[in-house]
């Protein structure tokens, strides 16, 4: 690592300002009268929320931030005291725990209660149980269910799109009109989606820069910051367009200079291993987890987790001229809504396109949507591509499931195996 003081990139500053302004707006809703919609990152149709001048809140993001701020363990335990099982999703328990502890968000402000629960049921069964639970905490708040059909048959059929558009028209939009007091304005939505489309292009270009050697970015540990704005309610905003343009420019400069990715300890100087990672990261020990990789010279060139809020690899972009169809197709195209074969294909393309030396699974105890079937995915890739594969386990926000020495032991073995194979193939 270079010793120079890590200077904050301009894009990072912009992102911080964006997030801060959103949480300020949220803390002011009592004064401004703006309505608040709770919803999820996958199938995150914040364009529609914004079209009604409402503000989105993401319980998943609250939970992951509680994890990063080391508050999740208490929240989880409090939810377990209420009768939640040790076996179930810790995002839900962390969120419930946060709510019963006053619903204080990362900035120290109280997160306003929901005016609408937008149950965007996309790629995760637990989302449904989660909002059924919230419904009991906020009995007066209406729930709008948007059922996103799973891509079980490997594709999106016209019937699936039709089903979703009808739900948007008859269930989601009427409820939003009622809660916000505003009429649905399709032109406004189209305008927002135009910006979304630009953003989607930029995001794909940004994650494509890992084609370079060395890779200018880490597509997992830094990638989770890059997807922050689109996953946090800024889809279709001018701020997001500005942010991604700035970020892309900065990354291109790095590429020109032949620089490697930025880590919390400076620029990574020697890129030894290029990996593709499947599965969300652990949030409670995020820095230590990242360090285990960059200390050993490993950079992540692609990750499935950065695609949970939308997959753009196969050319999908919203079409502003078909706004509701676009929202529907966007939802159905999120990573965890793809079937296992599609996931294998996508990961396989990433491994090839970004010249990865290895594939690694971080299997998350909480998240069956990701985890069940990962061993099958891993074996498929191993057989198809003859690529070395590695497997570690942790959890999203339950620190009790993060065993540093256990993960370190497996990672060391994995990297030594890669090194040995490299040495041998060089000979």
């Amino acid at each position: 690592m270079s010793k120079e003081v890590v200077s904050k990139e301009k894009s990072m500053i912009i992102q911080k300002e964006m997030i801060a302004s959103l949480s300020k707006e949220l803390s002011n809703v009592k004064k401004t009268g703006k309505k608040v919609v709770y919803t999820f990152v996958p199938g995150n149709i914040s364009e529609l929320i914004r079209a009604f001048d409402m503000l989105p809140v993401y319980p998943e993001i609250n939970a992951l931030q509680s994890g990063m701020r080391k508050k999740s363990e208490k929240f989880i335990r409090d939810a377990e005291k209420m009768g939640h099982s040790e076996d179930v999703c810790t995002y839900v328990k962390c969120d419930v725990g946060m709510m019963i502890n006053g619903n204080v968000g990362s900035g120290g402000d109280v997160v306003p209660p929901p005016d609408l629960l937008l149950l965007s049921y996309t790629g995760c069964f637990t989302f449904m149980k989660w909002f059924e639970t919230l419904k009991r905490l906020y009995p007066e708040v209406p729930v709008a269910m948007l059922h996103t059909p799973y891509q079980a048959g490997h594709k999106i059929t016209p019937e699936m799109t039709d089903y979703m558009v009808k739900q948007l028209k008859t269930e989601v939009i009427p409820k939003m009109e009622k809660v916000s007091g505003n009429k649905y304005d399709e032109n406004k939505l189209k305008e927002i989606l135009r910006k979304t489309s630009i953003t989607e292009d930029l995001i794909m270009k940004i994650f494509d820069t890992t084609k370079n050697i060395p890779s200018p970015i880490d597509a997992y540990f830094a990638g989770v910051y890059y997807i922050g704005p689109i996953n946090n309610g800024f889809r279709g905003t001018q701020e997001a367009v500005d942010y991604y343009q700035m970020l892309y420019k900065e990354i291109l400069e790095r590429v020109e200079k032949g620089l490697g990715p930025i880590t919390p300890e400076g620029v990574m100087e020697e890129e030894k291993f290029r990996l593709v990672i499947e599965g969300p990261p652990n949030w409670t020990h995020f820095r230590e987890f990242w360090k285990l990789f960059y200390d050993l010279g490993a950079v992540i060139v692609a990750s499935s987790y950065t695609k949970v809020g939308g997959v753009y690899d196969n050319g999908f972009r919203v079409d502003p001229e078909k706004p509701l169809e676009s929202l529907a197709n966007y939802c159905m195209n999120c990573y965890t809504n793809l079937n296992l074969e599609q996931r294998v294909e996508l990961l396989s393309d990433c491994i090839t396109k970004y010249h990865a030396d290895g594939f690694m699974v971080n299997s998350i105890k909480s998240c069956n949507s990701f985890s069940a079937g990962q061993l099958m995915i891993m074996r498929q890739l191993e057989e198809k591509l003859e690529i070395p594969v590695g497997f570690i386990e942790s959890d999203l926000v339950d620190p009790r499931y993060f065993s540093y020495s256990n993960i370190k032991n497996r990672l060391e073995s994995f990297f030594q195996m890669l090194e040995q194979r490299k040495l041998y193939s060089d000979k």
Binding site: E382, P388, F391, S403, S405, R410, S413, M417, Q420
Partner: protein, 461 residues
């Protein structure tokens, strides 16, 4: 000067050391139980490996003479047994002192004398017992550790004493053993070897008398040749060689550490290797056709696939759940109040396998008690437990891509006969009867061997 290489495998239950020569041939082995003080454990293993290496070098040096005169070999291995005994004796002496010290500081006056007397009696009984076990039954070759050897006999003795003294006597032992175990003594090899020879002379002289008296209670076997008034002659012709190996500078050119606790070893970063790579490399060196390696260690179970060069192509380790590792067996042994070594043999006596559901360490205890309650036999329960552990390992093997010919089973648990039985049974059942299954006598040393081999290669590269 010849070059030697050392591999240290600091495991969670045992610490192993291996010394190899320039041809990857194993010339020294050392093993001890891992304890709180891991440095002492690795040093003990290392010393033991170096002593053992000197004996191996002696045997190699005399290879031709041994061929024409087999009594030489017997003589050397007897000397090695005596050598091991003398180290043991030194420790037992320390333990005796520690016992007295503990008794003096732990008990009130009235109890003190009684306990002191009993403990002295115990030490005086087990001392000669163990001496004979070393000198006549080759105890040293059984890889038993000081703690196990003493505790087995100490426990047997206190069972004979009055029951109300059982707890205080256990207390004396528990309070004393650890500090003695953690004391590190480096012996002067030369001094000890000549003491050993004296001890041998005594042994043979006694046997000589017995032979003369036609005492049939003593078995002579190969000793008979040595005894035909020969041992002094043999000593004379070996003396110079013994002196040579005692004086020789055994130069360790490079070393590599591995194992669960490898991060604790004070080695430079490049001299620390993952146990996955080491186990595979070691197993492949002993059985060059190995393609799949299963290693069941104390903390981890690993299923490893290797290529024709012994390089790892893929591996899988047990998940968070420790069921199926050596630690689980330790827990089961505690639950049955027997030693780890007795588990396998008892399970082998089973008439059937009781179906065990919880492979979870936490729940297994309750399940075992329930099974005992409903009248299941201990051996049958143990058989079921062993099989369930092996089934976990089988799943891991399936996860890593199955068993390919040849299959090598390594790690401390490979010494458990019941585990071996189920591994063979299930490998044949799931992957066909033509799979070759390798289990070497050195199975527990594979990690250390791999380490030593990496040490040699990183010097020659």
């Amino acid at each position: 000067m010849k070059k030697y290489y050392l591999g240290i495998d600091l495991g969670s239950t045992t610490s192993k050391a291996i010394i190899i020569d320039e041809e990857d041939k194993i010339i020294g082995r050392g093993i001890t139980n891992t304890r709180a003080n891991y440095m002492v454990a690795t040093e003990i293993a290392r010393f033991e490996a170096i002593y053992n290496a000197r004996f191996s070098i002696l045997k190699m040096k005399l290879e031709n003479e041994i061929k024409s005169n087999p009594t030489y070999e017997k003589y050397i291995s007897d000397v090695e047994s005596a050598f091991q005994y003398l180290q043991f004796k030194h420790k037992l002496e320390k333990l005796r002192i520690k016992f007295m010290d503990t008794i003096a500081t732990t008990f009130s006056d009235d109890k003190r004398e009684v306990i002191k007397k009993i403990v002295e009696g115990i030490v005086n009984t087990i001392g000669p017992e163990i001496r004979d076990a070393y000198l006549f039954s080759n105890l040293g070759s059984k890889n038993q550790f000081f703690r196990d050897i003493v505790s087995e006999r100490y426990n047997a003795e206190i069972k004979k004493s009055e029951s109300d003294l059982f707890d205080p006597l256990m207390l004396v032992y528990d309070k004393s053993i650890t500090s003695v175990e953690n004391e590190l003594t480096e012996f002067d090899f030369k001094e000890l070897i000549f003491q050993s020879i004296e001890l041998m002379n005594e042994k043979y002289a006694k046997l000589d008398e017995a032979l003369a008296a036609n005492d049939s209670s003593i078995k002579f076997d190969t000793e008979i040749n040595l005894l035909q008034g020969n041992y002094k002659k043999i000593y004379n012709s070996l003396k110079d060689h013994l002196e040579f190996v005692a004086n020789m500078d055994l130069h360790i050119t490079n070393m590599v550490g591995t194992g669960y606790g490898r991060a604790l070893l004070p080695f430079p970063e490049k001299s620390i290797k993952s146990e996955i790579l080491c186990h595979a490399f070691g197993a492949h060196a002993i059985f060059p056709n190995t393609r799949t390696v299963l290693d069941i260690g104390g903390q981890d179970t690993k299923a490893i696939q290797v290529d024709s060069h012994g390089l790892v192509t893929s591996f899988h380790m047990n998940d968070r759940c420790a069921a199926g590792c050596g630690r689980y067996l330790g827990y089961i042994a505690d639950e049955f109040s027997i030693s780890l070594n007795e588990l396998g043999p008892l399970a082998m006596e089973a008439k059937k396998e009781v179906n065990i559901c919880s492979t979870c360490t936490v729940f297994a205890g309750a399940e075992i008690r329930e099974l005992l309650n409903v009248g299941e036999k201990r051996s049958d329960i143990l058989a079921g437990l062993h099989r369930s552990i092996v089934m976990r390992a089988m799943s891991l093997l399936a996860r890593s891509g199955g068993v390919k010919n040849e299959f090598t089973f390594t790690g401390g648990v490979a010494r458990n006969q019941a585990v071996l039985k189920y591994v063979s049974e299930l490998v044949y059942k799931n992957y066909g009867n033509d799979i070759t299954i390798n289990i070497g006598t050195d199975s527990i040393f594979m990690g250390a061997l791999g380490g030593a081999m990496f040490a040699r290669r990183s010097m020659t590269n």
